[in-house]
Amino acid sequence: MTAAAATAAAAVRIEGLTKSFGDVHVLRGVDLTVEPGTILALLGSNGAGKTTLVRILCTLLQADAGTAAVHGFDVAASPARVRESISLTGQFAAIDEVLSGRENLVLVARLRHLDDPGAVADGLLARFSLTEAGSRRAGTYSGGMRRRLDIAMSLIGDPLVVFLDEPTTGLDPQARLEVWQAVRELAAAGTTVLLTTQYLDEAEHLADRIAILHEGTVIQNGTLAELKALLPPATVEYVEKQPSLEDVFLALTKEER
């Protein structure tokens, strides 16, 4: 679909990827390319195989067939190089609840062998509005704070590609907006983001391109405008009426704070 030179420089390139668990064929030949510095939203219902795909790209799972490369490194042949290029924020906030927020960040900075883990931690606490909570045990954090800490931990060491697996599932609307803001800042800084979501509006608000994973293959891949062009325009009116409850909720709760 694009010139060979362009795909060679892709941040993520997946060709004919398949994965089965016993008789369950989760991925049945996935082809997908993510350009550097863009946000791609991988859309799919529960059980569509989004997490399986992300786990393969993060070297946590081996594919049955096909190839996947991250930043030019094949996930099967050179997993160590892939791990140096990526970061994963999984479906559930992977934080250490016993440690404080700051200690969580210092831990990851040490494991990434950075020079000044303390300074890295303080910088990220400030960036994610967690400075005040930094010395508290992460187990006491609210859902939104945990997610912000989780994402902050993923950014240590400036990975080139960040995978976010359903980053806003289970969050309240306010926390969701906070996560969206963090993702936008990431992309603005040049990081490639592949995020999976089952929320259509999330893909709509965040993504440069949207890929739809259905029954084990990517059935559509394009910009929002390209995808919208596939449907009759009648649906637009319906969307206009409905989201007002979220607007009302956010407006009301904002006044309270």
Binding site: L60, S87, L88, I95, V98, L99, L111, H113, M153
Partner: protein, 254 residues
């Protein structure tokens, strides 16, 4: 990647040691049951037990009690490892450019540190109860070495349990038979007082050779061939459990 193995293991060990420092009750609860057992046997049951030797019963009992301490302490390793798996933090570590073995070794070294503290507490209580040893410094070091080896071997068994458990309860339940094993050995009563089949089992299971070796070392007596059998058991369990744990760990992420 291997260049960072030691540094990564140290960082992760620091993390789980911090877990223990923030819940010191895990060390205390590990020590409480063996101490209660020791009190029970020394003050209630011990008077009726004839060990055949001239030593005081607490001297006879302590080696077995120390093994019970470690056998109950290692359950916390499977518990912590299971929680790491559940919380997803293990996946985070696995997707980072760190030495892969460091994740498991950090838990094992933490278990070693925690169990040695528990063992020290139990030994301190034994001293208060009248435990006395004529062992030389070398013999004490030999006892420490055997206990370290015992802890490492059983902790790798605990790693297997933590990696394969389906629930928190399952992660720690495996240790109950291990805690029970010293009771069917020479740890509390001499094996020749048992019925023949039980005595056969007691004499041929690892705990008896380990207990007899530690007891001889404490008493300043020659250890004889028992130490060879004890070391063979310990190294055998260590190698098998370590290999199995690594295989299960790799398979889990395939």
């Amino acid at each position: 990647m291997t260049t960072h193995a030691i540094g990564d293991t140290a960082v992760l060990t620091g993390r789980s040691l911090r877990h223990i420092l923030r819940s010191p009750d895990t060390i205390l609860t590990t020590a409480v049951t063996p101490i209660a057992l020791m009190l029970l046997f020394v003050f209630v049951l011990g008077g009726a037990i004839d060990t055949g030797g001239g030593e005081s019963y607490v001297d006879y009992l302590l080696p077995g009690i120390l093994l019970v301490t470690i056998a109950s302490g290692i359950a916390y390793t499977s518990y912590r490892l299971f929680l790491d798996l559940q919380s997803g933090i293990l996946e985070r570590f696995r997707s980072m450019p760190i030495a892969r073995s460091s994740v498991l070794w950090a838990h094992v070294l933490t278990s070693l540190a925690a169990n040695l503290v528990s063992v020290a507490i139990v030994t301190g209580v034994a001293l208060l109860l009248g435990f006395r040893s004529s062992a030389s410094v070398a013999a004490w070091l030999a006892v420490a070495g055997i206990l370290v080896l015992f802890t490492l071997a059983l902790t790798w068994v605990a790693v297997i349990a933590g990696l394969s458990a389906k629930s928190v309860d399952g992660a720690s339940a495996f240790s109950y038979p291990l805690i029970f094993l010293p009771f069917i050995s020479s740890a509390f009563v001499p094996t020749d007082s048992m019925p023949a089949p039980v005595a056969w089992f007691a004499e041929n299971q690892p705990v008896t050779s380990i207990v007899d070796t530690i007891r001889a070392l404490f008493a300043g007596q020659p250890v004889g061939g028992e130490i060879g059998i004890a070391l063979a058991w310990l190294l055998g369990i260590l190698v098998v459990a370590h290999t199995a744990a690594i295989l299960i760990y790799r398979r889990r992420f395939r």
